[in-house]
């Protein structure tokens, strides 16, 4: 798997998050685990909020960010954030029940996953690819980018998504 390397970019996101083990209630590939619940909560909010619907239309695509801390390696707990990209100019208009994430300026190694690869241990494959490419990842977060190419978990065979791994530098 060979990544595309992006130009440095800063990304500002608005959305909702969850902290813990996302599979403690259900570990299947469906919407019943905590990540699925989070997406459902976020989509319900979006459905009832025309202002955020407009924002989503301006900068299409959804983000699922995984953020790691000291409890991630030890206990398997981490934060999952889902949301949309926003411009800095609309920050003051973001509803109070949303969280903001500022992903600092970084280059990204972008891996495109397709079909059943989405269900595989792609993190492992990506890690090997980064090592082979001499790329050093920033271990504190990564994110998945979903757009019209992703057809839903029930249609995984025909779905495509991008995984963004922040990288520190090229050796």
């Amino acid at each position: 798997m060979i990544p595309i390397i992006s130009e440095p970019r800063q990304i500002l996101l608005a959305g909702m998050s969850f902290y813990g083990d996302p599979f403690d209630i259900h570990a299947g590939w469906d919407e019943e685990n905590r990540i699925g619940e989070l997406w459902n909560r976020w989509m319900r909010f979006l459905y009832h909020n025309p202002f955020c619907q407009n924002l989503a239309a301006e900068m299409p695509g959804f983000y699922e960010v995984h953020l790691y801390d000291e409890d991630t390696a030890e206990k398997g707990l981490f934060e999952v954030f889902v949301g949309i990209a926003i411009m800095e100019s609309v920050l003051h208009k973001i509803p109070e029940n949303l969280c903001l994430k500022n992903l600092p300026e970084s280059k990204y190694a972008i891996f495109t996953l397709q079909g059943m690869d989405i269900k595989s241990d792609w993190e492992n494959t990506i890690q090997l690819s980064l090592l082979e490419s001499g790329l050093q990842r920033n271990d504190s977060y990564n994110f998945q980018y979903y757009d019209e190419r992703f057809k839903g978990i029930q249609h995984i065979e025909s779905s495509i998504l991008d995984v963004y791994i922040p990288i520190k530098n090229l050796q």
């Binding site: 206990k75 398997g76 993190e123």
Partner: protein, 294 residues
Amino acid sequence: MNEPLESIYDAIEFFEDHLYENVTVAQTADFIGYSLFHFIRMFNRIVHHTPYDYLIRRRLSESARILTNSHRRITDIAQDFCFQNQESYSRAFKRMFDMQPSQWREEAPSEEFVLMPKITLADLAFRNSDFFRSPELFIWSETRYQGLMTKIIEDKNGLQEWENSLAADLKNCLSDVSASPQVTITFSVNSDWRNRYEFIGIEKHKNQRQTLNLVERIVPAGNYAGIFYPVDFFKEARTYLFFTWFPAVCCRATCHEFFLLSFSVLSSQGRQLFVPVVISEKSNIRLKDSRAAI
């Protein structure tokens, strides 16, 4: 045996080898060659515990054994099992056993069905089989049975033979030759699973005459957790109920009057084990009518 099941079992063994040593979930994922994210997902799916929850429950269970069987200081036991200090150990201990380590040492309660055993390959096979169905909670109405009863001496290889032999004798005693034993009830004389009696019987309907050479036993009304199991997986079903499902839904096994410990019902849907339970206020699981169970 499929590959993820074996890999996750390797992770369980890795945890078991490190109950007394600091080990992280990430190191365990690395040991079996999985990424952390994939490991957490697969472990939850196959074991039905989070990896960290499994490790902590096993450490607490082994530490409880040492509390009972040694004079080692509690603070040292906490350190042996990698807890930061005695306070965090006591907090975790109370969450799992509903008592402080010092109280546990004083009372030395029965360890069976309290201390979580190591999950075995057979446990994983049961949890991931096609016949596995998540347990449910039922409100049971009082039911009377008549049948035969025996003391269980050995619980290892002979249990099924006892059951078959009792069931055959019961069939000989019944006037209705088409009737088949429907229920197996486990009683004890002192709420201790190690000292128990097995009863095999059929439902006794209202106004039905008592057959002279049979005894009558009652399953009292109350709340029961029920789980389906194939006959070869009784032990694994019981382990699942007590150590995985009860903590997840905030309820615990209890002992009804006459020290009824559990009973199994054979219905058209298969064999189902029922255990009397106390449901915590924190539980949000719904109770079903027992008629839905059978």
